[in-house]
Symmetry: C2
């Protein structure tokens, strides 16, 4: 078996560190105890990424002849090879698949656009913004009810929890959890897992090493 290669950016500014989406993949690989190498692509050269990632983004995973992009698809690809990430039986797989898509298509869909208002420090009120806020609030209220019922979404921890907790984690600084303790405790449980901590520390270390290299080059 050839070793898996996870490609991410060679450098990013401080702000997105700890949130670049290779984190989801690092986390899954740590949970499943699968060895992997990191490869990099220059942050400023989106064009060079297009043959591997058609939107010019990261991450992508290389497994011998197969190259796969989209963090959700990579999680599922890895999940098919490890019961630490997804059960092998059809009912168990179905549950993980529905919650994986729920994280990325039902919760992240309003979460990322809503974050644009925060990133831009944009206080402009408008009917569409009100719709978006109701959309996100509704999704989070439903998640609060779901997450109050158990530790993980589908019984055992799975790739669905990696995706969902990573989506919710990105909202943490925006105060949406004050009235949603189940969401908050879920994110705390997920990020307390040794595999998350290792993945997070590795991503931070990767970009810090790039800082050192940049500074050395510019001196």
């Amino acid at each position: 078996m050839t070793e898996l290669i996870l490609t991410t950016l060679d450098w990013v500014p401080e702000f997105p560190r700890g949130f670049v989406r290779d984190l989801r993949i690092r986390w899954a690989l740590e949970e499943a105890d699968i060895p992997y190498q990191i490869a990099t692509t220059p942050v400023g050269d989106a064009e060079a990424r297009l043959p591997f990632q058609p939107f010019g983004q990261v991450p992508w995973l290389t497994d011998g002849d197969i190259t796969i992009f989209e963090s959700g698809a990579i999680l599922l690809y890895l999940g098919e090879g490890s019961t630490a990430l997804m059960p092998a039986d059809r009912p168990g797989r179905a549950k993980v698949m529905e919650w994986l898509f729920a994280a990325l298509n039902s919760v992240e869909m309003p979460a990322v656009p809503w974050s644009l208002y925060r990133w831009a420090d944009d206080e402009t009120q408008s009917p569409a913004r009100a719709h978006l806020e109701r959309f996100l609030d509704g999704r989070l209220n439903h998640m609060e009810a779901v997450l109050a019922k158990g530790d993980w979404l589908t019984g055992p921890f799975s790739i669905a929890d990696i995706a969902m907790s990573d989506v919710l984690r990105q909202l943490r600084s925006y105060d949406v959890f004050a009235k949603r303790p189940a969401c908050q405790h879920y994110v705390e449980r997920a990020t307390a897992r040794p595999a998350f901590k290792k993945a997070y520390a590795d991503q931070i270390a990767h970009f810090e090493a790039a800082d050192v290299e940049r500074t050395a080059r510019s001196e």
Copy 2:
């Protein structure tokens, strides 16, 4: 084998007809020539749907003891059972999975929030809105380059094309295709398929039958 049951709303107003997400599932079932029954849930009673769909939405699919929600997950579940929807080999599956997630997490993510401005007839300009428009434009520009290369995303038609063309189709009335002929022709190719036409006509007929019943009840 028990017959599959696809649950959708009992009635919706004119506006969303032809776009309710059971359409994606009807379409896949027609492509794979799998028989199914339609069941309904009262449009006004989201609470009653929560045991099957945790956000109170539709559709969900029942396959004997398995019930599965999220249109992306249902497409994948059906794809695993039919090579008319997804190849069975690992490299082919990986390609379909990455493009299925790309449709729902990379393209639909800015498309739906952007639609909120159109639905609300909201002309308010703001920095976040400008970000969102650049986000969507960027994704569509990349899709234009991809779709200029071939008829379907991964070689043969697949569930990835059902998801991607359905996401793009919802933007058609918003004039984003004027400068993107490859996107436009792709949507035209997809919606010309007999399976799409059957699925679309069946959804329209389903809601029209509900109109007749409502009228009869109110007389």
